[in-house]
């Protein structure tokens, strides 16, 4: 168990600058998730921690050792790969025992640890089988088992659930979380799935184009995204973005565009004053929009026309048009609205977000 520090980490391939100035302090026992679209540098960062990619510039510390020049085998880490990477010519037992054998553990100890890990993961009956005789979920368990028998300082997960079907993925996600609570080993987990990131991570690192966009606890990322990218990436369905003009009228600030005019909520007023007369991006999460009732203050209400209705059972997603903007709202399943029907939407004022049009940073 150890903390992991990344200092000014950079990775350049011939022409691609894959990871740019990454600084990250992963605390002991923390479960941290790197998330981002493909090509954002998250896997490369993980592979540099593992020692599978050379570090172009910067420093990685595991525990209190700088590991830049240590080969993977001496970093005391274990990694789970997306394609499981089970050794096809070995039985499950030998797969799990391989790392211990390489480290010259006594046979009795190996047996004890493999049994222990197999019990935790419920794969005792599979120990004599070969990987090709296992289902996807079982292979995943073996891969995790192979990592935990070693009692490493850090677990590295490279999209470990991506090859599983949706149902199994949810189940394994829960198991991984439970496992982490039990083992309390520092873990770095890479995924492109923001739901996985939010549910698993103690903290989540959002990356794009090699840069870290924001680091924070899941709800912090959700509630206070640092920029438009994070706001749009975290949350499903994604946040609605509408480009609006900040206008001054009747002693208050208004965000307006064709067919949509709402008052700037009080908590944002002071920060938006410098933007008076300029364009900004208004961000509203689908669940922060409701069908307007009489009690909603009229300055946060606007007209919209239903475009598409997506009933999901527990909720309904409405695709609506307000002026030129397309907006998704998440409403109660009891709402009965039809396509082309007119309605009025109210937004929750203190949950609105504003972003600078050029820098895309949150205002």
């Amino acid at each position: 168990m150890a903390q992991v520090m990344m200092k000014d980490l950079n990775k350049k391939y011939d022409e691609v600058h894959a990871v740019k100035d990454v600084n990250l302090h992963i605390r002991d026992k923390e479960f941290i998730v790197l998330v981002g679209p493909s090509g954002c540098g998250k896997s490369t960062t993980l592979r540099m921690v593992a020692g599978l990619e050379e570090i172009t510039a910067g420093e990685i510390t595991i525990g209190d050792r700088v590991v830049n020049d240590l080969p993977p085998k001496d970093r005391d880490i274990a990694m789970v790969f997306q394609n499981y990477a089970l050794y096809p010519h070995m039985t499950v037992y030998d797969n799990m025992a391989f790392g211990l054998k390489m480290r010259k553990f006594p046979k009795v100890e190996i047996q004890k640890r493999v049994q222990e890990a197999a019990e935790i993961l419920g794969i005792q009956e599979l120990l004599k089988r070969k990987p090709r005789q296992l289902s996807g979920g079982q292979r995943q368990r073996v891969a995790v088992g192979r990592a935990i028998v070693r009692h490493p300082q850090v677990f590295l997960f490279d999209e470990p659930l991506s090859n599983l079907d949706a149902k199994l993925r949810v189940q394994m996600r829960v198991e991984l979380k439970r496992l982490h609570e039990r083992l309390e080993t520092t873990a770095i987990y890479v995924t492109h799935d923001q739901v996985e990131a939010m549910t698993l991570g103690d903290r989540v690192v959002v990356m794009k184009d090699g840069w870290i966009q924001q680091v924070g606890e899941p709800l912090e990322l959700y509630g206070k995204p640092a920029n438009k990218f994070v706001a749009g990436f975290i949350g499903s369905p994604a946040m609605n973005f509408v480009d609006v003009k900040v206008a001054d009228a009747n002693g208050a600030l208004w965000a307006e565009t064709q067919g949509l005019r709402v008052k700037v909520p009080p908590i944002h007023t002071s920060r938006l004053v410098p933007y008076k007369g300029q364009q900004v991006t208004l961000g509203i999460r689908p669940e922060d929009l409701q069908l307007a009732s009489g009690s909603d203050p009229s300055e946060y209400v606007f007209d919209a026309v239903v475009d598409v209705v997506e009933p999901l059972g527990s909720e309904i997603l409405l695709d609506l048009r307000a002026g030129n903007s397309t907006i998704v709202a998440r409403v109660e399943p009891t709402v009965r609205l039809k396509v082309h029907e007119k309605t009025r939407l109210a937004l929750t004022p203190d949950r609105a977000h504003f972003f600078d049009l050029k820098t895309e940073l949150a205002i």
Binding site: M79, F81, A85, G99, P131
Partner: protein, 283 residues
């Protein structure tokens, strides 16, 4: 399921297959029948009333006996075997390491190197034997097995390298990455994980290399001159055709015995061989 018409199956499958099988196997049958046919039948006029070209009623082992007694055939067999095994071993060793490096390591000019290795394979032996003969003479290796053991790798190494490189590329690289994290060095991962998985590929490269050197003719013809030093393909042709006299029976007996080891090697490893050429590894 499609229910096919019977005649279609015959036209598209059985008949072409039969033609192919008969066409392929007939020379072997001819070799066998000639090897066991007595001389009297062999040199009988084609139009003789008693001629039975496709079978014989008096099979004999006389030609085999002559082959063993009157020529140094056992010695040729041994020479061929020795040369084939040693040059295959050398080529396989180099091919394994080179193939692995080209498939896995990132180093400058890797692509160019891979291509140029392949290009050397394309130079025909009929051209290459001239400069090679010069080299062999300079090193005074003429008329020794080493002349062939050292020249065969000129075509075997590129061949093995390319076959194995292709095979290594089908093995997911995460397997050895995982092994390296698990505590193995790169070399250890190669030895314990990649090579065991690549056994079908290694075997097919080995079988192919063995067959190529077993059957090789032109280098053997040029570099060896003493009858007792020769390999089977050269020995049979040069010692059993004297002027315009063909000792058909012994020629075919020699050809038959010479092809048995290769046939044995293939039949033992046929399954590995097929997966080696077609198969890939699933993690």
């Amino acid at each position: 399921m499609l229910i096919e018409r019977k005649w279609k199956r015959w036209v598209y499958f059985y008949i072409p297959l039969t033609v192919f099988v008969v066409g392929t196997l007939f020379p072997f049958y001819w070799m066998l029948i000639t090897a066991i046919r007595p001389d009297a039948e062999l040199y009988r006029s084609w139009r003789a009333a008693t001629n039975t070209p496709f079978w014989t009623l008096q099979p004999t082992l006389e030609h085999f006996r002559d082959l063993m007694a009157k020529t140094t055939f056992p010695q040729w067999l041994w020479n061929t075997f020795f040369i084939a095994v040693v040059s295959t071993a050398i080529s396989l060793f180099c091919g394994l390491l080179a193939g692995y490096a080209l498939a896995r390591l990132r180093f400058p000019m890797a692509g160019t190197l891979g291509t140029s290795i392949f290009v050397t394979y394309l130079v025909p032996p009929t051209l290459l034997f001239i400069p090679l003969a010069n080299i062999i003479r300079t090193f005074q290796l003429g008329d020794t097995p080493w002349a062939l053991i050292l020249t065969y790798p000129t075509f075997l190494i590129p061949f093995c390298t390319w076959l194995l490189m292709g095979y290594f590329k089908t093995i997911p690289k995460e397997l050895e990455e995982c092994a390296r994290i698990d505590g193995a060095t790169r070399f250890g991962a190669m030895l314990r994980i990649i090579f065991p998985i690549a056994v079908p590929g290694i075997l097919s490269a080995g079988i192919f290399a063995f067959t190529l050197s077993w059957n090789e003719f032109i280098y053997a013809l040029v570099f060896l001159s003493s009858p007792e030093k020769k390999t089977v393909p050269v020995g049979v042709v040069s010692e059993l055709i004297r002027g315009d006299i063909y000792f058909w029976g012994q020629l075919m007996a020699g050809a038959l015995l010479g092809s048995i080891p290769v046939a044995l090697v293939y039949s033992f490893f046929v399954e590995y061989y097929v997966t080696g050429l077609t198969g890939s590894v699933k993690g």
